[in-house]
């Protein structure tokens, strides 16, 4: 059978594609490398994949299109890409906001919002459909659910547990109403009238120190705004372990921690909503990416098992829970999706980060390193993923170092030894107030190069400190603390590689996640000895991968599938339980490239 020629206009690009007679236009677009957002997965019910037909003869509208045209007027000359079957040559313009973003090769963006994940499919966690329901449909709950299910062509649909608490919500008496559906399977609500343009999602990185979030428009798949606040739990302990200790001290403390987290999230939500000019009650979905201790606390689950060996979480995968049950004040029917835990100290933040990089479904060997307090590491080899957590400590967050500070304005983020002195650059070009993680790594790398430091970590020539800027110097004790943090990560990487029978030279890439200064330099990471000396192109900075992952999970069904499968693919390794842990750790204390050159793991 002869092929049909289709001319595709997208942005300023013109693409000539071929189609088999009878093929849908959305399929042709996908094959031509121009995948579009199929909000209702091509069922012809949402009316959002409108494309403009510039020329060519068309077949008649389909039944689905006719129905939609009755309900909402779509402009003449526009057709649904998922319904339009091709039989003649034609020219089509694809609106920009209908296109899925192309794969982002370099995830380098360090600033919030710039590391927007590459969408592989568009399937928001919560969707709305405008429906016309008959009086009979509305007469009983069961009838209503079944009418919506068949009307939308869903395989299964049940009433959300949150909706069951308030069945009156599901009884809008107007003729036109809007069904709110979670993950194509849960009916959250039936809203009176039309409200299908108002669906927001909250991507939430609930960190031990900082809570970061992004507000998303789930209809358009756009990030509206992002922000961070301090986790108010800090009042009960700075680190995870002290929070666990606090939670078990007396009954009621777990609740106090949960309330503190809820308060932080409420502050954050309020400021995000204000900035975007929206209302928190428009938020129907939250994707929670937090470490295991944080997600346990938010769900009011005891954390004592996470505070002692073998550090078992109460759950890996968790069913979505109504936000109202958790205590989040959003839309009353909103649901919380929980990115799965992979182990006691490899939590939902790491699974979200892994999904963000696409690493679980990529061929090849990859390392993923999160430079946080726990320094989580994942190694993918073939179909398997090994994960482990290390006791890196908060040194890279600037904590515990005499002149350390978080990556905030005034922090020295980049250091270079040049012409007999340290040159430096601060965040926001402010007067230097301290060094953040990237600056500290820079000092190690440049001090080794300039001869201020021996690979053993000793400051040379009887000096007692490394002066970086006026009033800012690293003491011998600071250097030792950084050596310990580096060694925890380095030995962790080597032990995982050793367990998998891989050499670092066989890696296809290494993702470095974490919130550090924007100027972290792969060359300096290698020179300091933190990372194996891979070619630069193989080292990919993923920024706050947890938050970006949470965002992706809100938008992509494939990402959610990938996350759900992760716990099955993952094997958790206890590093401290490895026979050669101590020897490897001691070797890893040496600075510089030497550690990675020695081949005797």
């Amino acid at each position: 059978m002869s092929k049909i020629r289709v001319k595709l206009l997208a942005g300023d690009k013109v693409i000539m594609a071929e189609a088999r007679p009878g093929q849908t236009l959305s399929r042709v677009l996908f094959r031509a490398g121009l995948p579009i957002k199929l909000y209702c997965q091509g069922r012809g019910i949402c009316g959002r994949c409108l494309v403009e037909i510039k020329s060519g003869r068309l077949l008649e509208e389909t039944e689905a299109e006719r129905k939609l045209r009755l309900g909402r007027r779509f402009p003449p000359g526009f057709r649904l890409a998922c319904q339009l079957r091709l039989h003649q040559s034609l020219t089509v313009r694809i609106p920009d906001d209908l296109l899925l973003q192309p794969e982002i090769k370099n995830l380098a963006g360090m600033f919030p919002g710039s590391d927007r994940p590459a969408l592989r499919d568009f399937n928001p966690l919560v969707k709305k459909y405008v429906l016309r329901l008959s009086r009979e449909d509305l007469s009983a709950e069961e009838r209503l659910v079944s009418a919506i299910k068949s009307g939308l062509g869903l395989k299964q649909l049940v009433l959300s547990p949150a909706a069951e608490q308030k069945p009156k919500n599901v009884g809008a008496s107007r003729r036109q109403s809007t069904a709110v559906i979670y993950d194509d399977r849960l009916l959250l609500d039936l809203e009176a009238g039309r409200s299908d343009d108002r669906i927001l999602g909250l991507a939430l990185d609930l960190g031990t120190t900082t809570v970061s979030a992004r507000l998303l428009d789930l209809v358009k798949g756009k990030t509206l705004t992002s922000a961070s606040v301090a986790n108010l739990q800090a009042a009960f302990g700075a680190d995870l372990i002290s929070r666990i200790a606090f939670s078990v001290e007396k009954p009621g403390n777990l609740k106090k921690l949960q309330q503190a987290a809820l308060k932080s999230i409420a502050q954050l939500t309020a400021s995000l909503a204000r900035e975007a000019g929206v209302k928190p009650k428009w938020i129907y979905a939250v994707c929670l990416a937090g470490n295991a201790v944080m997600n346990h606390i938010l769900l009011n689950q005891p954390v004592d098992s996470l505070g002692r060996a073998p550090f078992r979480p109460a759950f890996l995968c968790h069913d979505p829970v109504p936000a109202s049950e958790v205590g989040l004040k959003l839309n009353p029917q909103a649901m919380v999706f929980i990115s799965p835990n992979l182990g006691g100290f490899v939590g939902g933040d790491i699974s979200a980060g892994l999904v963000y990089t696409g690493l679980p479904d990529k061929p090849g060997n990859y390392l993923y390193v999160d430079l946080g307090t726990n320094g989580e590491i994942a190694l993918k080899k073939g179909k398997k993923i090994l994960v482990a957590s290390t006791a890196a400590g908060p040194a890279f967050e600037g904590s515990g170092i005499s002149c350390g500070q978080p990556a905030l304005p005034g922090a020295i983020e980049y250091v270079k030894w040049s012409g007999g002195s340290f040159e430096y650059r601060t965040i926001g070009r402010k007067k230097p107030t301290g060094l953040c993680g990237s600056g500290l790594l820079g000092v190690l790398a440049e001090s080794l190069r300039a001869g201020w430091l021996l690979p053993s970590g000793r400051i040379t020539a009887g000096r007692s400190e490394v002066p970086v800027a006026p009033g800012l110097a690293l003491s011998q004790i600071d250097i030792r603390k950084l050596q310990l943090a580096l060694a925890a990560l380095k030995s962790g990487m080597r032990l995982l590689l050793g367990t998998a029978g891989l050499d670092w030279t066989e890696l296809d890439g290494l993702y470095l996640a974490g919130v550090f200064g924007s100027s972290i330099d792969p060359g300096q990471c290698i020179a300091a000895g933190l990372l194996p000396p891979l070619p630069r192109r193989k080292i990919i900075f993923a920024g706050n991968a947890s938050l970006a992952g949470a965002e992706l999970l809100l938008l992509s069904g494939q990402a959610r599938k990938s996350a759900a499968r992760l716990p099955l693919k993952v094997q958790h390794i206890s590093l401290a339980g490895q026979e050669n842990f101590q020897g490897e750790f001691l070797k890893a204390l040496s600075l510089g490239r030497r550690y990675w050159r020695a081949n005797d793991v």
């Binding site: 372990i241 666990i244 200790a245 004592d304 002692r308 007692s464 011998q476 401290a576 101590q582 001691l586």
Partner: protein, 224 residues
Amino acid sequence: MKPEPNSHLQALSQAIVQGLVDEAGPLAEKALDAGLKPLQVIEQACVPAIEEVGRLWEAGDYFLPELIAGAEAMKAAMTVLQEALKSSGQSLKSAGRVVIGTVEGDIHDIGKNMVASMLRASGFEVIDLGADVKVERFVETAEREKADIIALSALLTTTMLNQKRVVELLVSRGLKDRFKVMVGGAPVTEKFAREIGADGYGESAVQAVSVARNLLSGRGGKHD
């Protein structure tokens, strides 16, 4: 003293300070071959050497790898020298007997291993129970082994409470005066040690040695 034996002592001492694990044993043998008495080698080469390692640690010159290498080199030399003592019917006076371990719920044992190595290198007999050790096991082993000191390591704020439980068990069994308890580990502080009723706290493996010595200094002669 003849110059030649002296140079043997110096070489051995240097090997320990530099952490040359493979050379320390053979150098100890050479010293014995040259006619030096085992006790003399221990007192004039080994002990000053390990003290120098401790001094370099305190000065910030040495870090964990150098410290552990020094202790290992010391151990290699002492194995040779103690064998020689034994065959001449003598034995070295023990600095004290220590039961050591990382407390229940905690699997981190590098720090504990450092302390054990330094204590051994400094003449203590050490019974290492490993990591994730139950409260009862510390007390029972100390009783059975007639230990002088129970040394408890904890690396987590959640597990350091088990250090307290060991002290409590000793008190409840009326054994608190029989054993000295010393505690250590990243989250542990001098204040915490006092609060739970421990007798000593060391910030590092080097400090642990002087703490252990001080705890036993009031006790006079040591039993075997």
